[in-house]
């Protein structure tokens, strides 16, 4: 079988490439990267744009250096904690989502089984040590010793619980539900709210005078008097959602709420004051005692401590959403965390290349980044070689005025600095894939045109061209069927080199934030890293994209090196 000369010429470089070991290695690596681009959605375990969140039973422990993350208590969030007793037999209970109950005795954790999988929201100990737990869908749990009693209220989520006396407790929840529990009989009775507009009640605490104070949405505060069984509205001085209330036996009280709401009462008969907060994120729990200690915790790892005059942010270096505080003497724990964004997480089994500042999976981003790199790389290079080869062919073949005009144009292009020109082009005409490819290729064809022309200049004087001309072949036929196959090795060489140049150019534009918008590219990942400032510590963020760019371009260079031998036969003889 004889192939047309055109095809045979095209195949020659490939055959030579297979003989060069480095070129074969480059070809293999490049095929891998092309496969990566084609199958990026299959290869990435996450959506590259998805902000990854994770739930965790997080425990932050106060140390002299600040609050540090302790060992995680399982994969679900912890919602509330309570403590009973002083020395021996002292126990803390921590409740969380999906029926999680943990007991903590002198620093040791033990998992308890309450016989439920409902989310548990609140826990409190009676003066006798009976634990009361309230949870989703009207679930109320009583624990006396090892005996668990389950009570069902109506289908509303219960959010707060507090004992009023030994056998008497109050449980509050959504829809302004207030339930009074008689622990002896395990019966509950509904208490009517004075508002009746279906607000969510979030927390309840026993006040120093024996009444209970309930807080809820929109600054709602309801006082319940167990003696008369009556309820009354109270003004605490805030209309923000209030999340938690803590009152000491002495009457000092702290209410925490949305947008950094901190309401403090210095004594039982003192007025409520709104403290300025150092951060305006939601505060979910607070703790105060009579000695002047006060702590408030909230979303995104916010922990504030009262230093006697003002609230100060404590360093936590954690993004976890804190929901509860457990303070037993000097043993202070902050507990959470419902779904929090896994920002700047180092590589793990879940995120192979870690996550970025928005919690996006970097492995998936790097996989997807190959698409833009190769698209711009190959399309740009094809465009460059197409223009450059034709200009070179025409200029070299026709000579004369045509050549002067074309080559003068090339000379002018050599006067235009590449990077600044590409920048201006993209910035003036809004980044888009089209403009980026144009910016990458509009100037680079100058080298190709010069090279091809010089090659054509020698070829056109060769006997076979003269023979073709004598035989009556047209200019086009001579140019494209007789001369072109002979410059093909050079064209392939240039193509390979320009692919590398284009990939780097695209990465450069993307790095400067000028890449195709809404696309993920290797340069773009590095742009994000630089912009966030976290790249100085998050090595997993800026190493992989650069290595991938380098590997891709290097593999292309290795391939081009073998083609150089084709284009320059003198090299073949020496090596």
């Amino acid at each position: 079988m004889t192939l047309p000369p055109f095809l045979r010429a095209a195949l020659a470089p490939l055959r030579l490439m297979m003989r060069d070991r480095l070129a074969v290695a480059g070809l293999c690596v490049l095929s891998l990267i092309i496969a990566m681009a084609l199958f990026a959605p299959l290869l990435s375990p996450h959506d590259p744009r998805h902000i990854n969140e994770v739930e965790d039973g997080s425990v932050l422990v106060q140390t002299p250096e600040g609050w540090v993350l302790g060992e995680s208590l399982g994969a679900v969030a912890l919602n509330d904690a309570a403590h009973f007793g002083a020395d021996i037999g002292a126990q803390s209970l921590i409740v969380g989502r999906e029926g999680t109950i943990w007991a903590r005795e002198s620093g040791h954790w033990a998992r308890l089984d309450g016989g439920t999988v409902a989310d548990l929201n609140a826990v409190d100990f009676s003066p006798e040590g009976t634990a009361l737990i309230a949870g989703a869908d009207g679930l109320i749990l009583l624990r006396d010793g090892d005996k668990w009693t389950e009570i069902k209220a109506e289908n509303a989520d219960l959010r707060g619980a507090a004992w009023l006396s030994a056998g008497d407790a109050l449980i509050v929840g959504d829809n302004e539900d207030i339930w009074r529990l008689d622990a002896e009989t395990a019966l509950i009775t509904r208490i009517n709210s004075p508002v009746g507009r279906g607000f969510s009640l979030r927390s309840v605490a026993l006040d120093a005078d024996g009444t209970a104070l309930i807080v809820g949405e929109r600054g709602l505060a309801i006082r319940f008097d167990p003696q008369s069984g009556s309820t009354a509205l109270e003004r605490l001085g805030s209309s923000r959602d209030l999340n938690h209330i803590h009152i000491t036996t002495g009457g000092t009280a702290l209410v925490t709420g949305e947008r950094g709401t901190l309401l403090r009462r210095a004594a039982a008969d003192a007025a409520w004051v709104t403290d300025p907060a150092p951060d305006t994120r939601a505060l979910r729990a607070g703790y105060i005692d009579d000695t002047g200690t006060a702590i408030a915790v909230g979303r995104n790892g916010i922990i504030m401590e009262w230093d006697g005059a003002e609230w100060l942010l404590s360093p936590t270096e954690s993004e976890r959403h804190l929901r509860a505080l457990l303070v037993v003497g000097e043993d202070r724990l902050a507990l959470g965390s419902d779904r929090f964004v896994t920002r700047l997480a180092p590589p793990s089994r879940e995120h192979w290349f870690g996550t970025d500042h928005l919690g996006r999976d970097l492995f998936s981003q790097n996989m997807h980044g190959s698409q833009i790199a190769l698209l711009v790389g190959f399309l740009g290079a094809a465009l460059v070689v197409l223009i450059g080869t034709n200009v070179g062919l025409v200029a070299g073949y026709f000579r004369g005025r045509t050549e002067t005009i074309l080559m003068r144009t090339v000379d002018i292009m050599y006067g235009i600095p590449f990077e600044p020109f590409a920048l201006i082009l993209v910035l003036l005409f809004q980044p888009s894939l089209m403009i980026v490819i144009l910016a990458v290729s509009l100037l680079t064809w100058r080298t190709v045109a010069r090279l091809i022309r010089s090659q054509v200049l020698t070829l056109r004087e060769r006997p076979f061209v003269k023979a073709a001309r004598v035989a009556g072949a047209s200019d086009l036929r001579i140019m494209y069927l007789h001369i072109f196959p002979n410059v093909l090795p050079l064209v392939f060489l240039e193509l390979a080199i320009i692919v590398g140049v284009s990939i780097i150019a695209e990465a450069t534009l993307s790095f400067l934030g000028l890449g195709p918008p809404q696309s993920i590219s290797w340069g773009g990942i590095l742009h994000d890293a630089r912009l966030s400032g976290a790249w100085r510590t998050a090595w997993w963020w800026n190493l992989p994209p650069g290595i991938l760019i380098m590997t891709t371009v290097l593999s292309v260079f290795f391939i081009s090196r073998s083609l150089e031998v084709v284009a320059n036969p003198r090299l073949r003889a020496r090596e």
Partner: protein
Amino acid sequence: MSRRNYLIKRVVQALFSLWIIATILFFLFRMGLPDPTAALITEGLNAEQRALIRAQFGLEDPLWKQYMLFLTNALQGEFGTSFSYRAPVAEIVWERLGNTMILMVAAITLAYAIGVPLGAWLSWRRGSLADTLGIFVGLMFRSAPMFWTGMIAILIFGVSFALFPTSGMRTLPYDATGFFDKILTLDFLWHAILPVLVVALYYLGSPLLIMRNTMLEVYGEDFIEMARAKGLPERDILYKHAARNALLPVVTQLAVTIGLAAGGQVVVEVVFSWPGLGREILNAVRTSDFPLAQASFLIMAAFVITLNLLVDFLYSTLDPRVSFR
């Protein structure tokens, strides 16, 4: 053609190129930024003041009039006032150009000073492990995007070991009366090491590989056989006979590189906060400071063309075969 005529022809060609580039630039900006003063709204200028500026830049005139104004201004070196700096554009641009050139010249010099002898040595040891390694490392730095190499260099030498400063040309605040006053200090050298090294590593690949490949070609020439036959030591053959004759393609490459040096390496300037011309263009276009962006680019292009011209003349003196075409 006589040498004088050749020179004149090349200078005329260069001026022609510059005019074309200025024209392209003018229309590019008019297409991309129909109302350059739009960016000034944020600065609290009222409609009246904007109209004044529009008139000042002749933006109300027909396009051909604007174009003529632009050309005459450019010819007189009058580039207007920068919107963001509120200072004459020309002053800013010349200072930035100096900063870019000192970085580029230092880096290119370093790259060729290392690359050429190393390339010659690699060709001598062709096929050895050192040869493969040398090619690999040269190509590797050529393939790595410079902004990334820069970031990694900062990460390692600037942050982890805290050996070198990572941004700017001098420790702030400093006062220097002139360009040379600014750069002839140890502090400047200290700031320049990392960026120069990063650019040099990128450029290292070409002299290295070109030198190596040309040397391989030269080894096959008769005069090398002759030198061998005379019993000269390999060292002498390598450096005195072969290397000298292999230098020409390297010089060609050097000429092209220097010619484009004024274009600088925008990303390196960005990564190292080097106050160069490339970074200035980026900022100017970003903040729609079009007098500055336009002038920076034009002066940069003028410099590139002048360098190309100079390099051509020098080259024609070096190699009589190429001259007076």
